[in-house]
């Protein structure tokens, strides 16, 4: 009586919906600006823009699937760019910059995780506190100024220049993004760590009674998000050749929005990384189309809201309904 193969968790369908949305956007872009939109150059621009926030979103996906939330990502990105571009740090060369950015991100993430997992501070509050502190520290260190990368370390910034693209077309930033996504996808879908993440997010009590170390796992999730912020920091330094406390402004909202629109439950326990990435691409493509058509900020914002809603509805439509589970 029970035919198999349905009644399952159909995240693939949701993603199909998002891909549909992307295609529609591409059509719109192509229709409005055939010359400028549909060419490699523009694809590179979109992907590059998606890369930085994209890496942050990967970390955010882990946190949210694991039942948490991280509002401090933007601030951590800012802090890592600032700390990595101080005179002192830069004197250690490119290695120093990269290393510092990663460590700063990781440490902030661990602090978040420690207080949330062991101090039992609500994630929302803890990370909003980290948001304030990290930005404050960033302003303190940079004195509110924009610290540019010294000529000595120009090598790093050069990675952003077209003459450093791999095979002349793939920007190193986009490659970094791709790698992070690939690693993240494997970790979430093919490893015990990923399995545990879904369990911890879906029903912490059950996970605990199944013998999982829920606290330690939670800590790791935030550390992971912090690390991603560090990587994003490096990417921003490459992209802007500088570090400033104003970096990563509102990344938290953008990243969470991408994760949610990607089909991850805000309450945790269910979600896909691919969905999150598609979410990021949707948002960046929208912005790109706007600028190409040089819409005013007003029109952009207005349209953005409307498009998001339409996108979600289209997505639902394309993804057909999932079985309603009786509680």
């Amino acid at each position: 009586m029970v035919r198999p193969r349905s009644g399952r968790i159909p995240s693939e369908l949701r993603n199909a919906g998002l891909i549909g949305v992307l295609v529609i956007l591409a059509v719109i872009g192509g229709a409005t600006k055939p010359g400028e939109f549909l060419n490699l150059g523009n694809l590179v621009v979109i992907l590059t823009q998606a890369s930085v926030i994209g890496v942050v979103t990967v970390g955010m996906t882990f946190v949210i699937v694991g039942g948490g939330i991280d509002l401090s990502v933007g601030a951590i990105v800012a802090l890592s760019t600032v700390w990595a571009t101080t005179v002192a740090t830069q004197s250690f060369g490119v290695v120093g910059i990269v290393f510092t950015a990663l460590v700063v991100g990781l440490v902030c993430g661990i602090v978040n995780g420690a207080f949330i997992a062991y101090g039992k501070v609500v994630a929302f509050i803890m990370t909003i506190a980290m948001l304030a502190s990290a930005r404050g520290l960033a302003i303190q260190i940079s004195g509110g100024t924009t610290q540019t990368v010294r000529p000595a370390n120009q090598a790093l910034v050069n990675l952003g220049y077209s003459d450093h693209y791999l095979f002349g077309v793939v920007p190193p930033l986009v490659l970094m993004f791709a790698v992070v996504v690939a690693v993240g996808w494997i970790a979430l879908n093919r490893t015990t760590f990923g399995r545990r993440t879904f369990a911890v997010g879906g029903n912490p009590e059950a996970a605990r009674l199944a013998g999982l170390n829920v606290r330690a796992h939670t800590l790791v999730l935030y550390a992971l998000s912090g690390l991603c912020c560090g990587i994003a920091g490096i990417m921003l330094i490459i992209l802007t050749g500088s570090g400033t406390s104003a970096n990563g402004n509102l990344y938290e909202l953008d990243a969470i929005a991408a994760v949610i629109i990607g089909g991850t439950l805000l309450s945790g326990g269910r979600g896909t990384l691919v969905g999150s990435v598609l979410g990021v691409l949707v948002f960046t493509t929208i912005n790109d189309i706007f600028t190409l058509n040089n819409l005013s900020t007003a029109t952009q914002q207005l349209a953005k809201g409307v498009i998001i809603v339409i996108a979600v509805l289209v997505q639902k439509l394309l993804a057909s309904r999932t079985p309603t589970t009786p509680r």
Binding site: Q49, T148, V157, Y161, L239, N249, N287, D288
Partner: protein, 320 residues
């Protein structure tokens, strides 16, 4: 309650006071309501103000900074009023929004020096001192027009669009362009005064405009990002003009190794001047080199165009 000249400055100081303005006078407390120092120019403002105040032994300097949110800043100003400072220097996040606050201070008998973003009613401040956003845009356009010989296509990379100053700069820029029939504005994008958004919007602008002759960027901070975007795309063959006048920008102009050929000044030094003026008002002195019995009610600073030719004059006062 619309009030006339506050008492502090009303009584005639008489001639001869001008000479020794720098000499210690009656001890005064200056309150300074500054913006959130998370942007090059703004932290420049706060730094300039503090540095200037520190130069006077007869000045106690009370700072309230840290918010661009209207109601929060209103609260900060109210706090300074409650502390009964002798004179207030206010750089509002938005002039018109802080008008009631300025009014409250004046009503409380505290003369207000309105810095940069102008209040809506004259009764809300004793003296206004600040830059000229409209002229900033206008000068940028004029400079570009002259360099391009009056014809070509121009891009504009604006700042935060829901700030009044951005609107004024753009208006000035447009009006300036109108004076050159041959100039046409090919595109405009609004960044958010941050390096990051500068890079993002610029790379998209470049994508949308394979060729153009000149670019005006409202703000040198976001200019850092814009310049990166230009280098990343490996684009050349156009003229870029900046805004505000950061050290980085001026050094680039001096080095003359990028498309950035000039920047239109929006001097952060205005903060120092404001503190100085505030002190004079509180001490009931008047300004040197002016044969006036009291400090003027409005001082507009000039938006000079800094180029390779004159950069050395401005470099020292640039904010970093």
């Amino acid at each position: 309650t619309s009030n006339s000249e506050p008492t502090a400055a009303s009584t005639n100081a008489g001639p001869g006071v001008n000479a020794d303005n720098a000499k210690p006078g009656k001890h005064v407390t200056i309150g300074f309501a500054g913006p959130q120092a998370d942007h090059g120019w703004l932290s420049g403002i706060n730094a300039q103000a503090k540095a200037e105040a520190a130069r006077y032994k007869d000045v106690t300097f009370v700072v309230a900074e840290g918010s661009n949110e209207a109601s929060a800043q209103a609260g900060q100003i109210q706090t300074l009023i409650n502390q009964k400072v002798d004179v207030l220097v206010i750089l509002p996040a938005d002039g018109k929004q802080m008008t009631p606050s300025g009014q409250k201070a004046m009503d409380a008998g505290i003369p207000v020096v309105n810095l940069d973003r102008v209040f809506d009613t004259t009764s809300a401040y004793r003296t206004w001192i600040g830059g000229d956003n409209y002229r900033m845009g206008f000068n940028a356009a004029t400079f570009i027009g002259q360099r391009l010989g009056g014809k070509g296509s121009v891009l504009e990379l604006a700042g935060i669009d829901n700030l009044e100053l951005t609107q004024q700069r753009s208006k000035g820029f447009d009006d300036g362009l109108k004076t050159f029939p041959g100039l046409k504005k090919a595109g405009r994008a609004a960044a958010e005064f941050t390096v990051q958004t500068g890079q993002a919007r610029m790379s998209e602008l470049l994508q949308a405009h394979p060729t153009f002759d000149a670019l005006w960027n409202h703000d040198d901070d976001q200019g850092v990002g814009a310049l990166q975007a230009i280098r990343q795309a490996g684009r050349k063959g156009f003229l870029m003009v900046g805004g505000a006048g950061s050290k980085a920008a001026m050094q680039a102009i001096k080095a003359d190794d990028s498309v950035l050929k000039a920047t239109v000044l929006y001097p952060a030094t205005m903060a120092a001047s404001a503190v100085r003026v505030a002190r004079l008002i509180a001490q009931n002195k008047t300004m040197g080199d002016l044969d006036e019995t009291s400090v003027p009610s409005s001082i507009t600073l000039f938006s000079a165009v800094v180029t390779k030719a004159n950069v050395d004059r401005y470099l020292p006062t640039a904010f970093d």
